[in-house]
């Protein structure tokens, strides 16, 4: 995904969930920002899987351990529980089969960390409600016809899918438009309305 670091407020949250020296697979590692952050601050044994060849080549040139591959087709080659954490950050909505991908993440990692843009955010709802058009926001800058994001979901949708896959939510964080964490005590409907991004720590 082509988003700059300022927009990737979720990265700090994701990194905060990972203890030092963990074995981490970053699925959709993009330009390698998360892997670099984790290597610098947590000395993790990090690997990346990235769709764009350009992204991969740049990562390898920077000394990161990344291969070119597709989350939809290439996760099957990884062994069960081969990693402490498998991260899917801002990529779930761009996969062809999010359910299968999530299932694979839970198989490969002892824990899975998933972050995604919340389609239930009030701005999105407002845009559709008043303008009657597919929302184009700072977070979701694409038009409906050229977006790589083909499977949007809301925080509530995601929680349902997690249940369906027999996994449990160990931790969840919603971030507002400024990247601030929304209070933990808030009910799901509140998060679903005000959360622009969501980060989930899952286990099965």
């Amino acid at each position: 995904m082509s988003v700059n670091r300022a927009q990737r407020v979720d990265l700090e949250v994701v990194a905060g969930l990972i203890p030092p020296l963990s074995r981490v697979l970053d699925v959709g590692s993009g330009d390698g920002l998360l892997l670099e952050l984790l290597q610098e601050t947590k000395q993790v044994d990090g690997r990346g899987l990235e769709l764009s060849q350009r992204g991969v080549n740049e990562c390898v040139a920077r000394g990161l351990s990344v291969i070119q591959g597709d989350a939809d087709t290439d996760l099957e080659f990884y062994p069960d529980k081969g990693f402490d954490f498998v991260v899917l950050s801002q990529t779930l909505q761009a996969t062809r089969n999010p359910k299968l991908v999530l299932d694979e993440l839970l198989r490969i990692g002892n824990r899975a960390i998933v972050s995604f843009p919340n389609f239930g955010h009030w701005r999105v709802r407002l845009s559709l409600f008043f303008k009657g058009r597919m929302p184009v926001t700072e977070d979701l800058p694409y038009s409906w016809y050229d977006t790589p994001n083909i499977h949007f979901c809301t925080i509530r949708d995601f929680v349902n899918l997690v249940e369906e896959l027999g996994a449990s939510v160990e931790k969840a964080t919603a971030l507002d438009g400024n990247g601030q964490k929304i209070g933990l005590s808030m009910p799901w409907w509140f998060w679903n309305f005000f959360g622009q991004q969501a980060v989930f720590l899952l286990k099965r």
């Binding site: 044994d45 690997r47 060849q53 991969v56 080549n57 990562c59 390898v60 040139a61 920077r62 000394g63 990161l64 351990s65 990344v66 291969i67 070119q68 591959g69 290439d74 080659f77 990884y78 062994p79 081969g82």
Partner: protein, 389 residues
């Protein structure tokens, strides 16, 4: 000139310009063919200095018609070393920092025991009396060289094409001796199409009446025509259609019109003839047979019950694979299947596919993206190995 160079090649086989490590009857080389090769010798070149901890050694494995002269002027051709764009003082593989070893493979013709070497039992060149040599045999010999230097663990083993096969064999057989592995433009097996091209080359050599069943030295001859044809056919497979057309198109060679004959009307014909002719000056025909055969026999998965991932089970070696989009000899899919096997084995692996129209030979050329990948990989491996930059 040709005769002079030919004599030089032959001479290089027994008494090369390189340092030579000789193994007597007490240290035979165990061959996959089921026999022992003894005595035998390895010719090699080194660059840079081995550090006190012996942790900065890089082994470079050469390709089918390569040799140990990776970063120095070639004594036979007078041309620069075949990977001098990459290796040398201040280069990507910096010989001020690393100790680089490159040896002529067993079966080769520049000083390691091969078919052109004198068979001590007969006093004549081995010819086809030399047992078939496999990639694993080459690696076993290299291991003996590495042991000679007292190197417990190589910092990196790298090579392209047949050199890449040796890298994979090293990483599979002796993973505890390899800290990082960099196989480029290669595969875990030789495909049917690749075997087919090699067979055409071998048949061209053997069809030359000057081949004399492999005993051409005894007849004072060399199967130059056959070997040149073999090289011409092989050379096409090292390039891509796009690059050939970009370079030569249908351009005519030193003429304005077709001659309505079988002279080299087209530039591409002239180019290939030149490639064939210069090759026979530097390479032994029997060695070509042995080298091609070693690649044909290579099938790493077959050596591990048909499951490639088992070839790398439990490996701690860090891998980086590189392929080129226009390489139709070792297409990206070959590298990708190795990557998937390494993933299944839980290995640390990077994989870069480089967009170029220069075909298989791209690995020998000045390819900035290749160099950037090698630089990044070696740099991070060196940090992990605790080598000062």
């Amino acid at each position: 000139m040709t005769a002079l160079r030919a004599a030089k090649t032959n001479n290089e086989a027994d008494s090369p310009s390189s340092p030579v490590l000789r193994f007597g009857p007490d240290k035979p080389l165990k061959l996959d063919a089921g026999t022992l090769l003894s005595p035998f010798q390895i010719a090699y070149q080194t660059y840079g200095t081995l550090n006190d901890a012996r942790t900065n050694a890089i082994l470079v494995c050469h390709a089918l018609t390569g040799d140990q002269h990776v970063a120095n002027t070639n004594p036979v051709t007078g041309k620069p070393g075949w990977w001098e764009v990459l290796i040398g003082p201040g280069k990507i593989i910096d010989t001020n920092r690393f100790f680089v070893i490159c040896s002529n493979v067993i079966g080769g013709c520049l000083g390691s025991t091969g078919p052109a070497s004198t068979n001590p039992a007969t006093g004549k060149p081995y010819g086809l009396d030399l047992p078939i040599i496999t990639i694993r045999d080459m690696v076993r010999a290299q291991l003996m060289l590495v042991d000679h230097f007292g190197i417990e663990k190589l910092f990196c083993v790298l090579g392209g094409s047949m050199g890449g096969m040796q890298v994979l064999e090293w990483a599979s057989c002796y993973s505890e001796r390899v800290f990082s592995a960099l196989p480029i433009a290669t595969g875990a097996r030789h495909s049917s199409q690749n075997i087919a091209f090699h067979e055409v080359g071998r048949q061209a050599v053997m069809a030359d009446p000057d081949w004399h069943g492999g005993k051409y030295f005894e007849h004072g001859k060399r199967p130059e025509k056959g070997l040149a044809v073999a090289r011409m056919a092989a050379h096409i497979t090292y390039l891509s259609e796009a690059a050939l057309h970009r370079k030569f198109g249908r351009n005519l060679q030193d003429r304005d019109a077709l001659t309505f004959g079988f002279d080299a009307d087209f530039q591409i014909e002239s180019y290939l003839r030149h490639q064939g002719m210069t090759f026979v000056d530097r390479f032994d025909a029997n060695s070509y047979l042995y080298m091609t055969r070693s690649m044909d026999y290579f099938d790493l998965a077959a050596d591990h019950g048909g499951r490639l991932a088992d070839a790398f089970a439990g490996t701690k070696t860090r891998f980086c694979l590189v392929s080129f989009t226009s390489d139709w000899l070792f297409p990206t899919e070959e590298s990708r299947s190795i990557v998937h096997a390494l993933n299944a084995a839980g290995a640390s692996v990077s994989f870069v596919e480089i967009d170029t129209d220069r075909g298989h030979d791209a690995f020998l050329l000045d390819e900035p993206e290749l160099f950037a990948a090698i630089n990044g990989f070696i740099g991070s491996a060196a940090r992990a190995r605790g080598l000062a930059s």
